[in-house]
Symmetry: C2
Subunit: 205 residues, 2 copies
């Protein structure tokens, strides 16, 4: 039955690529199916055919982003080295992942605060997996009460790493030269230094 698996994958993935790009640039709510279909070069009805509803399309985008993000946390935090070394590896890998999946990141972040019950349960399930993955490393042992709860740790670090991509359109109009001067590795390094050692020693004063 997988005769047209070539074209099927093409259409499905072209829809997904067009949708995530338009959602990231114009917002989920303002992007219509006709616009997506035109950008993907497919018929309007194919979106419902492959994804069911608009929420189904959004859920798939969230799944793709979160699954990759959790997987990076699992892999990098479980490796060798002490806590700060592993955290530094994780930050570097996560920033690279954010850049590679920039549009997925932006859709996920901008849809985070919204309260659609169906989507919210989806985000919460992934949030639980992320916090569980990180908790063991932040706070080993049963009677450990760190100064910062893991759920705060995760959201704060995620926001820090995402800031560059959230602010990109504004940054390139405020300080265009900075955006091209500060590469991804530089940025990951800055996040690491701030998050691990603080900003005190980075700023001359």
């Amino acid at each position: 039955m997988k005769k047209n698996s070539q074209t099927e994958a093409d259409s499905r993935e072209r829809i997904l690529a067009a949708a995530v790009s338009l959602f990231a640039r114009h917002g989920y709510g303002r992007t219509g199916f006709r616009e997506i279909a035109a950008a993907a070069g497919v018929n309007l009805a194919m979106i419902n055919y492959f994804f069911g509803t608009k929420k189904g399309l959004l859920k798939e985008i969230l799944d793709i982003f979160f699954s990759g993000y959790v997987e990076i946390a699992r892999k990098e935090m479980a490796g060798g080295g002490d806590f700060t070394a592993r955290l530094e590896r994780f930050i570097r890998a996560a920033v690279a992942y954010f850049a590679a999946r920039r549009d997925y990141l932006l859709v996920t972040i901008t849809e985070l605060p919204h309260d659609d019950p169906e989507i919210l349960e989806h985000k919460a399930a992934w949030g639980r997996r992320m916090v569980e993955t990180m908790s063991g490393h932040i706070c080993p042992g049963p009677a450990c009460a760190p100064a910062m709860p893991p759920v705060v740790f995760c959201s704060m670090l995620t926001s820090m790493m995402a800031s560059r991509f959230l602010f990109t359109p504004v940054m390139e109009r405020v300080r265009p030269e900075v955006l091209s001067a500060v590469g991804l590795d530089d940025y990951a390094g800055m996040v690491s230094r701030v998050f691990l050692d603080g900003v005190k020693e980075m700023i001359g004063t």
Copy 2:
């Protein structure tokens, strides 16, 4: 001519309050004027009457949030004390401001990455004022090249402070006890410690 200044202010502000609340919960694109009008208890046409277009309504929301934010940066960073003391004051004041204007913050953040040219120029103008306000304090003197450019400094810190509010709906489903245990002052303290001193000493390992 200002006869109905009482009811005028009432209607205009009720529209604004309803709009920012619905935008924050359901997203700008998914919120319709009829929904706003119903929540504000006014006639549908009053929204266009007071704000012109939907973009005009959004621009007013952005203006309100950014003007207050820039004003806090100006005031707290210009006060006495060394750099870290002023920065700590700013963080505390900004977090309190974010909490008081939570819905405005969420609308602003979620609309940040979108690329509507008209709105984008608006955001860029405020971004310039914010960066200018902070630049002098981060990097005094003409030949100062800090390890982190002011525009990166601003967006990273803003994202950190906003993380609690961006993630609130997810957090209260992942670790509901943490959200009630960690008050606003506690949270501001955590942001200060991480941003200034780093997370190394906060986590036992």
